[in-house]
């Protein structure tokens, strides 16, 4: 199971999924997923609810048994090994903290199960508290008295305390408010760098995945639609589903497949794929004549987003979204008819 590393050497993947399948009656939640995850990688699986991503991570953690397929951890078959024997740990969506125990007891749980002596447990728990930037005196605090962000950190410390080879995260930030989520995303990334462990993260937010991940898999109906680096997925989405997942993008159905496509009465370069849609990111549209494809648009709406300004445009019967960085040019007013342009290179062509 050797793969070529970017440095040109070979390495056994931390986790290797081979045709992993899970069926519930007639429903196939996870459909023959094959994937290698490298040692120390931050790998994120993104998908809408019902895409099978939670089932997949439960299979990886050993909380579910696959209907078919093989799972290798550093080359060793662990397909039938239950969760309590796997050297992995999970941070649950609900966090699943033990509410009747203190912060310290929560963190020490895995060590207690292993039979580690109390003084050593305590020492390690205090270390983890400082790794997660929680004050030492939280050791004796009841978890029910901790704030949302603190509970989050306790859950991560508890998972790390079992000294796992791989950490799983099942949408742990989804219940938090926007600001705290942003802070914790950065902290998680730092934690990944400091611990050097393999992180496998589940989320429904591609934005969240982009911030943290080395690689991202987009999941739909139990399968991976696309696996790649954040840049790959951002710049070259494989299909409309992936493109649509990135939030607000312009997806243009192009008539005249194969031939030179037309857009708002303008000639576009011929699509690279048949039955094509042109995916155009809002920031690829610029005010003025800078790009080679130029058109006049009516500004319908202006939204101030802080670092950038979003304009909703109308070109004939076509609705477009453009985003211009704050401080670039002057603010344009709704109702104004303005010249916009873009570069054909910024188009990502996708089939269905």
């Amino acid at each position: 199971m050797a793969t070529v590393t970017p440095e040109g050497g070979t390495a056994v993947p931390a986790l290797s999924l081979q045709e992993i399948t899970r069926r519930f009656g007639a429903l196939t939640a996870v459909d023959a997923v094959t994937l290698d995850i490298a040692e120390g990688e931050f790998f994120t699986i993104v998908g809408p609810s019902g895409s099978g991503k939670s089932t997949l991570v439960r299979l990886l953690a050993g909380l579910e048994v696959p209907t078919a397929g093989t799972l290798l951890l550093r080359g060793e078959d662990i397909t039938r090994q239950p969760a309590n024997q796997r050297p992995t740990a999970m941070v649950f969506q609900s966090l699943a903290l033990f509410d009747h125990r203190s912060v310290g007891q929560n963190i020490e749980f895995a060590m207690k199960m292993k039979g580690v002596a109390p003084p050593a447990r305590r020492e390690r728990a205090l270390e983890l508290l400082s790794l997660l930037r929680l004050p030492r005196d939280y050791y004796d605090r009841a978890v029910t008295q901790c704030s949302g962000g603190e509970r989050q950190r306790v859950a991560m410390a508890r998972a790390l305390a079992s000294d796992p080879e791989i950490l799983f995260f099942d949408e742990p930030l989804s219940a938090l408010d926007y600001r705290l989520r942003k802070t914790l995303e950065v902290e998680l990334k730092e934690l990944h760098q400091r611990t050097g462990k393999t992180f496998i993260y589940i989320t429904h937010s591609l934005e969240e995945a982009m911030v943290m991940s080395d690689r991202i898999a987009i999941m739909q109906d139990g399968r991976f639609v696309q696996v790649g680096t954040p840049q790959d997925i951002y710049q070259r989405p494989r299909n409309r589903f992936v493109a649509g997942f990135m939030g607000e993008v312009n997806i243009l159905e192009i008539r005249g497949r194969g031939e030179s496509a037309r857009f708002a009465g303008l000639d576009l370069p011929a699509p690279e794929v048949a039955g094509a849609y042109a995916v155009l990111r809002p920031e690829a549209l610029q005010a003025g004549d800078g790009g080679s494809v130029r058109f006049d648009a009516d500004i319908v709406q202006r939204l101030m987003l802080g670092s950038r300004t979003q304009y909703h445009l109308r070109v004939g019967d076509l609705a477009l979204i453009a985003e211009i960085g704050a401080g670039v040019g002057n603010l344009m007013e709704p109702g104004q008819r303005t010249r916009f342009s873009f570069d054909p290179d910024d188009i990502a062509w996708v089939a269905e």
């Binding site: 953690a61 050993g62 909380l63 239950p82 969760a83 309590n84 024997q85 992995t88 740990a89 999970m90 649950f92 969506q93 609900s94 699943a96 903290l97 033990f98 509410d99 009747h100 125990r101 749980f109 895995a110 199960m113 292993k114 508890r158 998972a159 079992s162």
Partner: protein
């Protein structure tokens, strides 16, 4: 300001009245037990502890308390075991027929107890079982197990099942999960359920009167001696019975306190 004072005054009167109404019966039982007459009359001409002396010396006092105690303990054990399992089925697992089960289990609570007692007596004799304290235990269980099931279920409804998976994921065996996570989370429910079971069994008359046969638990003895052959011995025994159950409850609460600190 004046209105405030009136409101406060009315509140105090209201609370005082309720407390008085709640405690008058208990106080009056204590008072009549201190008389030496066969008639409940007040004020007493002679104050006397004779009834208590008689109660302590009498074999009957000990035997009715023992009968009630062993019944209550049996009911507690049955109610806790069946109630915990029932609560799991009631609130923890999703299974086919759960909603029917949820309705059936609470049905006995709404049954009038004397009717339930009579029905059970008829069933026992139809089955050829001689009524005694054991049949009374079963009768109590029919009524008390559903209550305890509900009490423990309340704990389970506010319980995140993912905690068990988390413990399992962190290396606990199935047994350790039950001991370290499920049981501690359920413990407050089990504790109050057991307390309920004990007190409800200890004080039950309508079920016991039909189903206890030749054995006489405390409430049945109190009832029959009040109806016929009353003497101050009756309230004296009643006071002793109340004190015993109160002491047991206090003891349990103190034990729990100590247990929690440790």
């Amino acid at each position: 300001m004046i209105r405030d004072r009136h409101v406060r005054y009315l509140k105090a009167v209201w609370i005082g009245t309720i407390i008085l109404l709640l405690y008058i019966p208990i106080v009056s039982v204590v008072l009549v037990s201190l008389a030496n007459t066969r008639y409940m009359r007040f004020p007493h001409r002679v104050w006397s502890l004779d009834a208590y002396r008689e109660a302590v010396d009498s074999f009957t006092t000990w035997s009715i308390h023992l009968v009630s105690l062993q019944m209550a303990l049996c009911v507690v054990i049955m109610a806790v075991v069946l109630g915990t399992l029932g609560a799991m089925a009631f609130a923890r697992y999703d299974w086919h027929g759960r909603s029917v089960f949820q309705r059936l289990i609470v049905l006995p609570i709404f049954f009038p107890q004397p009717v339930l007692g009579l029905a059970l007596l008829l069933s026992f004799s139809a089955l050829g079982i001689t009524p005694g304290w054991k049949t009374a235990v079963i009768a109590h269980a029919v009524w008390i197990v559903p209550i305890v099931t509900l009490v423990i279920s309340i704990r389970l409804f506010g319980y995140d099942v993912a905690q068990e998976e988390a413990a399992f994921d962190l290396g606990a065996s199935r047994w350790q999960v039950a001991r370290e996570v499920t049981f501690p989370a359920l413990w407050p429910g089990i504790f109050s359920g057991a307390l309920f079971a004990f007190l409800l069994s200890w004080s039950n008359l309508p079920l016991s009167i039909f189903t206890s046969g030749a054995d006489t638990p405390l409430p049945v003895w109190l009832f029959s001696r009040t109806a016929t052959n009353y003497s101050p011995l009756v309230p004296a025994v009643a006071v002793i019975g109340t004190v015993i159950s109160a002491l047991l409850v206090i003891l349990l609460l103190v034990l729990r306190r100590l247990f929690r600190r440790a």
